[in-house]
Amino acid sequence: MFDISLYFIFLLGLSSYYIGKNRAKKNINLITETGGLESHYGMYLVIWTILPAFIFYLIWSVISNYLIKEATLGSIPNDLLPNNLSMQKLFLDSIIVVAKGGSSLSKVPEISVAFYQNFAFYSTLGKSISTISISLISFFIFYKKIDSNVRAKNFLERIILVFLFISSIIAIMTTVGIILSLIVETTKFFQDVTIFEYFFGLLWSPQMALREGQVAAEGSFGAVPVFAGTFLITIIAMALAGPVGLFSAIYLSEYASKNTRKIVKPTIEVLAGVPTVVYGFFAALVVGPFIRRTSESFGLASSSESALAAGLVMGIMIIPFISSLSDDVINSVPQSLREASFGVGATKSETIKKVIIPAALPGIVAAFMLAISRAIGETMIVVMAAGLSAKLTANPLDSVTTVTVQIVTLLVGDHEFDSTKTMAAFALGMTLFAITLILNIYAIRVVKKYREKYD
């Protein structure tokens, strides 16, 4: 991939730094002019030597990469061309492998191989020559330009600013990438399965055998049981983490001595640093069997992959999340309110219940929403400790499945990429993304408003 032209422009760029510097030394009285230091002029020439040529190189690579495939596909004799699109892609891949000197099991037409090699040769040649020439031309033009009219420093700073801006745009591009990749597959999915069936259907069984030629929609994609399972496990998790996390936060911020706080707070935060796969192991090998044994000793039937086990362990995982967020919120309630309440003779718990909690309520609600969003999106614990079969049940001892478990089972392993099954995973992903997005945006907004109010 790295051909000679890249080395060339790199070397030219390196030397142009010193050339630019020297020219600046000769041409410009740097003491009276404010265009920048000598080194700025060096960098100025480096950028002009490398950047345009490199961008050109990238664009050529992308375009030729696309063209070469299309053209090679066109060169395949008609009788050899498979009519299925994905087969065509495979066939093309083996031609490329052979053309690069490898070997392929399937027989490939000589003519296309030769075509590909020719195309690649001339394309690379053209690319190298033009990249080098652009680099040289731009080097000479801007070498001549170095004089007191050029503000090299300003130019450099503007270039840096452009890079800084591009970096901050990556976040938006990531979000757009997520939305695009989810939407494309999800729309395809809804061509096979109706929206109504997905959101209201009571039977989820995508694993139903899809033989060749069978209509895809015969697998059943009613997602209600999956949502119900996610909901059940989230409720169990929040039932544990909500009170425990909140009370921990209250105790730590209002009652605990400085020393207790210094020890206990980091201890709780250790829980937040434990990877989810470890929680999964804990749920599957310790909590799950324990719950099954306990419930069986009470004569209750229990699945070894009970919703309770996954939910409780998820709750443990979320405790530090709730407690540290609530701690922040409670601490930002102004001290004057506490004083006012103590001033009229309220006890600490009365102050907390009647003044601090109500004042901190929006923040606490936001913390809970973020926690719920995390519980819904949590994957490893449920993959390892919850079940696969989508059952519509409210019994915590029964096994249920969740959105994330289904995404994983549908996508891990060897699948044809565009089957309804894989697209169903993206539809679930889209649902997950939408729900967590709403929860997050709401929560983030509330927290921000809350901070502004008391800061």
Binding site: S257, K258, P334, S336, L337, R338, E339, A340, S341, F342, G343, V344, G345, A346, T347, E350, K354, V355, P358, A359
Partner: protein, 255 residues
């Protein structure tokens, strides 16, 4: 004239913040139904002493108070003393108005509610109305009792805090620079209010503003660097102080 009764008898009080001593050996008697003003340059310990009277300093871990403060002959520095009862007897108004983010009504009703002072709602309504009236706020807010206490003007908020403090029917009201965040008009209202309130309550006010001390108080105590320099009738303190420091401060030479 009625004989002056002693409400608070402060005896040999020292206050430490960790190793740093903030109050040195203060002796003072606060008389009933009077306004006593604490004046002095900032950092002189006047607020610290004030906060001893309802043990607000207990909120600060490193703060240690020694000596004795007798409120009606009970030592309020006693470790076993019930803070809840003390604070119902000694109310406090803070430097910055700090209404709870609740309705005006709930702000005033908060104290009576938690202390169980009222049998039923109508009684509570009465207490709220009485307190707001005593604080001179009733006419301004009677139509919007359910609006948030944070939504009224700063002066009104401070009078709301005063109403909140008197709703539990205390004996003593501590005021920690109650007017420092208020404009002159609101300040005048609060000062008038103090004159009204001293008929029923004993008031101790910490202030930066010497004119205010002169206007509102019967007795004035002047503090400097944690020491009580001079204590006496306000008139005397302001017209013929015994100590040079007091004179210097009052005439604006330092502080």
């Amino acid at each position: 004239m009625i004989k002056e009764q002693t409400k608070l008898d402060i005896d040999n009080v020292d206050v430490f913040y960790g190793k740093k001593q903030a109050i040195f050996n203060v002796d003072l008697e606060i008389k009933k139904n009077q306004v006593t003003a604490f004046i002095g340059p900032s950092g002189c310990g006047k607020s610290t002493l004030l906060r001893c009277f309802n043990r607000m300093n207990d909120l600060i871990d490193i703060c240690k108070v020694s000596g004795s403060i007798l409120l009606d002959s009970v030592n309020i520095l006693d470790k076993k003393l019930d803070l809840v009862r003390l604070r119902t007897k000694v109310g406090m108004v803070f430097q910055k108005p700090n209404p709870f983010p609740k309705s005006i009504y709930d702000n005033v009703a908060y104290g009576p509610k938690i202390h169980g002072l009222c049998e039923d709602i109508s009684e509570l309504d009465e207490v709220v109305e009485k307190s707001l009236k005593s604080a001179g706020l009733w006419n301004e807010v009677k139509d919007r009792l359910n609006e948030p206490g944070t939504g009224i003007s700063g002066g009104q908020q401070q009078r709301l805090c005063i109403a909140r403090a008197i709703a539990t029917n205390p004996d003593v009201i501590l005021m920690d620079e109650p007017c420092s965040a208020l404009d002159p008009i609101a300040t005048a209202r609060v000062e008038e209010l103090m004159q009204e309130l001293k008929k029923n309550y004993t008031i101790i006010v910490v202030t930066h503003n010497m004119q205010q001390a002169a206007r509102v108080s019967e007795k004035t105590a002047f503090f400097h660097l944690g020491h009580l320099i001079e204590f006496g009738n306000t008139e005397e303190i302001f017209t013929s102080p015994n100590e040079i420091k007091t004179q210097d401060y009052i005439t604006g030479r330092f502080g």
